[in-house]
Amino acid sequence: MKRIDIEVSGGCQCGAVRYHSAVMLDNAHICHCRMCQKAVGNIFASLVAAPVDALVWTRGTPAIWRSSEHVERGFCAHCGTPLFYNDVNNDRTNLTIGSLDHPEWFPPKGQTGSESRMPWFETLPKIEDNGPTEAGDAGPWAGAIKATNRQHPDHDTAEWHVKD
């Protein structure tokens, strides 16, 4: 896998756990396998790896659950954000692309786990678009979400107080 010199940061929703890497690998992909689906509560996992020699946990420590003998799944114990998939036998940690501060930098180049891809997966781009939440009946309520967002911003912060 090709190493790319690029400074990235990311972390969980509440900001208790943050990471940084100065190198990324060119393996951005999505995985449809049933274990990835379950680990992230989603239709697939979106992953891109950092070499372990470049990945630094800059705030807090991720919680780990061993999903099989040689795979660790990392998450924030405070807010639950899935953070990584780590095969303990190799030298890279696959970070969840959505936990990066700039997920748009890592368009997936391939997909894996064809055996459990959702049969309706290819319909998703064409499903009805309901626009912004704020535009619907729930407008004022959705506005309140924006105003009281407890999510860590999409950049590193010198100080951060995690909200309960």
């Binding site: 680990a39 989603n42 639950g80 997909q111 959702m118």
Partner: protein, 157 residues
């Protein structure tokens, strides 16, 4: 009468059941992206959803919404507001039964999401991938309810 839909987290500590679900959706907003560590949040409204084993942990992501996950393994499980509870589609035992019908919050939609289904298939680049897959002994809870938790020790195989 509708079939009961079941699901839960990866490790099996938290399980849920529901019969009455609304329209399933994917939400592109940055808060859902972050909460799921992915490109969007896949959620379906439930009118009778309840926890059948264990309880999730909650994170209040804003004054108006909170998000549930398994404290043991981290699987995102639900999103709750005063409008009700929504369950994470990937956490269902049969997510294929909960196809999203609608998408919301296009302002945060990642441009490449339109083309995910066209991506080439690959094996994660490792020549040892086959051996790796063959060597997996999953600790994941099966995709159905189980009588005992934690699981009883399996006989040596």
């Amino acid at each position: 009468m509708a079939d009961t839909l079941t699901g839960g987290c990866q490790c099996g500590a938290v399980r849920f059941a529901t019969k009455l679900v609304g329209r399933a959706s994917i939400c592109h907003c940055r808060m859902c992206q972050k909460a799921f560590g992915s490109f969007f949040g896949p959620l379906v409204t439930t009118h009778d959803g309840h926890w059948t084993r264990g309880e999730p942990k909650w994170f209040q992501s804003s004054n108006s919404a909170r998000r549930a996950f398994c404290g043991d393994c981290g699987t995102p499980l639900a999103y709750e507001t005063r409008f009700g509870l929504e369950l994470a589609i990937g956490a269902f035992d049969h997510p294929e039964a909960v196809a999203p019908q609608v998408q919301v919050n296009p302002h945060d939609k990642l441009s490449f999401v339109e083309h995910l289904h066209e991506l080439p298939w690959r094996d994660d680049g490792g020549s040892d991938w086959g051996d790796f897959m063959a060597g997996i002994h999953s600790n994941q809870h099966p995709d159905h309810d189980t009588a005992d938790w934690p699981p009883k020790e399996k006989d040596e195989e």
